[in-house]
Structures are given as C-alpha cells and as structure tokens.
Symmetry: C2
Subunit: 213 residues, 2 copies
C-alpha cells in the first residue's frame, strides 16, 4: 500500500473513532513521525481529509479536526434525506428485485445478529453496508453515488456519538427491511417514504442520546 494511502486511512480512522478530537491540531512533522511516513505523503493525506471536510486548514498553523455541532447533524441529515430518498426511489425503478428481496430476508433476521456476542456489531453493520452498496449499484448514477459516499464518511463519525443500544438497532433493522421490501416491490414512492421514516427515527434517536450526554 502507498504511504499516502496508509496515512490517510490511519488519520481518517483516528478522526472517525474520536481518537483525534475536534480542534486537535495535526502538525505535518508531528503526524508524519507518528505514522512513520515522510511529510510529502502525509500532506496528500491531509489534503484529502480537508477536501472531505473532516479537517479544515487553519491558515498557516496546520490543519485542525473539524467540529460537529448539533446544527451540523441537522444539516447532514437534511442532505442525507434528500440524497437517500432519491436513491431509494431510483433503486426501486432500476434495481434487481431478487437481490433486494434477499436483503430484506436477511434484515428481518438481523435481530439475531444483534443479540450475538459482537460488541462492534460487525455483522449487523456489514449487512447494512451491503444494502447501501446494493442501492449504490442499483441507482447507476456515479455522481449521486459519489455524493452519498462523501456523506457517509461524516455519518459514520456521527454514528459513534450515539449509543448503539440493541433496541434501536433492532428497530433500525426493521426500517431497513422496509426499504429493501419497497425497492424489491419496485415502488419508488414507498421506498422514499420508508427512507424518510428511517432517517427521521435515526435522527431523533441520535439527538436524544446526544443531548443526554
């Protein structure tokens, strides 16, 4: 793997996992020594992070990890609803019904996954990730897919703020199943509605746990 790639992955993980907190200054020399690469590939990594919005250039004094406020989360979900509703509707028109039927079945069995001994919810998030991937492929619109990918980077970071309690995840799995069902049924409006519902519930849960802290 290229050194710049390695540095990028490492820094992104550190930011998403909240090991590097908002406001932290990422000096080029400091980080290049920490990650064992030279300044040139590290600069490239910082450029990518800044372009994605995970860091911001603090004129002259390195880059700092961007903060995420409650207002940001609202904005993020506003865009997310716009993009994902459109994506779900398009997937319902263009997607492979059999694939989404299969995903629906697996999602209905997801409560079993959540109950299992998997602290990181690896299986569950993997399944949800497969639904995302399937939708991305079904919409066959690279620009929309790209916009959703760049959005998900921020969402993963926000997700870490919320308590991943089993109750919410079980409900979320059901909502995801409803989305998959609507797409499999080739019903764009229903897919949109199911997505809207899911996102509103996610946001409510997020805000509830966030304000609790």
């Amino acid at each position: 793997m290229r050194a710049s790639e390695k540095a990028y992955e490492a820094l992104r993980e550190d930011i998403i996992e909240w090991r590097l907190l908002p406001g932290a200054v990422l000096g080029e020399v400091e980080q290049s020594e920490r990650l064992g690469v030279s300044r040139t590939p590290l600069r490239e990594a910082l450029s990518r992070l800044t372009a994605e919005g995970l860091t911001t250039a603090a004129g002259g004094r390195g880059v700092v990890v961007t903060d995420i406020s409650l207002a940001d989360i609202d904005e993020l979900f506003e865009l997310r609803e716009t993009l994902e509703c459109k994506a779900a509707a398009l997937a319902a028109r263009r997607g492979d019904a059999a694939l989404f039927e299969q995903l629906q079945k697996e999602l209905l069995d997801a409560p079993g996954l959540i109950g299992a001994h998997d602290p990181a919810r690896h299986d569950y998030y993997g399944l949800v990730g497969r639904l995302d991937t399937a939708i991305d492929a079904a919409i066959s619109n690279s620009y929309l897919a790209q916009a959703m990918r760049s959005l998900r980077i921020h969402l993963v970071r926000v997700r870490r703020l919320a308590a991943d309690d089993a109750e919410r995840l079980t409900a979320a799995a059901g909502e995801h199943a409803a989305i998959a069902e609507a797409i499999a049924a080739r019903n764009p409006r229903l897919a949109e509605a199911a997505t809207t519902l899911h996102l509103h519930r996610s946001l409510s849960h997020l805000k509830a746990t966030h304000t609790a802290h």
Copy 2:
C-alpha cells in the same frame, strides 16, 4: 498566491474550457514545467482535480482528463435536480424575500444584457451566479451547499458544450426569474416546480445542441 493554488486554477480552467481534452494525459514533469511550478505543488493540484472528478488516476501513467458522455450528462442532471429542487424549496422557507424580489426584477431585465455586446455573456452569467450565491446563502446548510458547488464545477464544463444562443439564454433568464419569484413568495413547492422546469429545459437544449455536433 500559493504555487499549488495557481497550478490548480490553471489546470481547472484548461479542463473546463476544453483546452485540455478528455483523455489527455497530464504528466507531472510535463505540466510542472508548463505551469512553472515544481512537482510537489502540482501533485497537490492533480489530487484536488481527481477528488473533484475532473481527472482520474490512470494507474502508473499519470492522470487523464475525464470524459463526459451523454449518459454522464443525464446522471449529472439527475443529481442536479435532486439538489437544486431541495435548495430552492429550502430557500423559499428560509431566504430573505426582499433579496430574491430584487433578483427577480434584474432577471426580468436580463434580455437587455444578452443583447449587449458581450461575447462571453459575462454580465448574464454574473447575474445567474448571484442567484446561485443567494440560494446557497439562504439554505444555510453547508453540506448541501458544498455538494452543489462540487456539482457546478462539472456543469460549467458541460455548459461550454452547448451553443449559448441568445434565444435559449433569454428563455433561461425567464425561468430563473420564476425561481426567484417563487422563493420571494415563500412558496417551496412552487420554487421546486420552477427549478424542475428550468432544469428539464436546460437538459433538453443541451442534448439537442450536443447531438447536432
């Protein structure tokens, strides 16, 4: 101005103005000599361009200018309609009515600008740009605004393909005026409808002139 910024602007202009055609290979040494900067800032410029989708990394052999097919234009407008309709609706809810009333008036007078001796349509595009900026500001959603900005980079490039005939520009000015009017009237659904109409007409015109070539 920083050398990397200078290189980025120069390359972006060259690509948008179709001086660097799709498929053109941008070698680091070659371009750094042409633009009078060293390879390091040029690499940063190429990274940004690739992140934005104007170029793609051609594994091992530099980066190449990306092509834009008719299918790409369809995808681009699919995303554009999604984002701009949402933006227009939000602007209608949150925007400053007086500002958009003013813009509407100016847009209704735009046919005068188009008739004037201005081969680059500088005044006209400036006015449309002010409407875009006003909407960006009104939505007060940095993520949505960012998504729209990255989209516009590609759109400017596509616009150069279409013949900027006075007839179409005059009609477009009227459509823009309708959008501004709907926002000023604080009517989200109307703003959305006006935007949908405008984008469909733009796309039709684009396709008509494109297939003519």
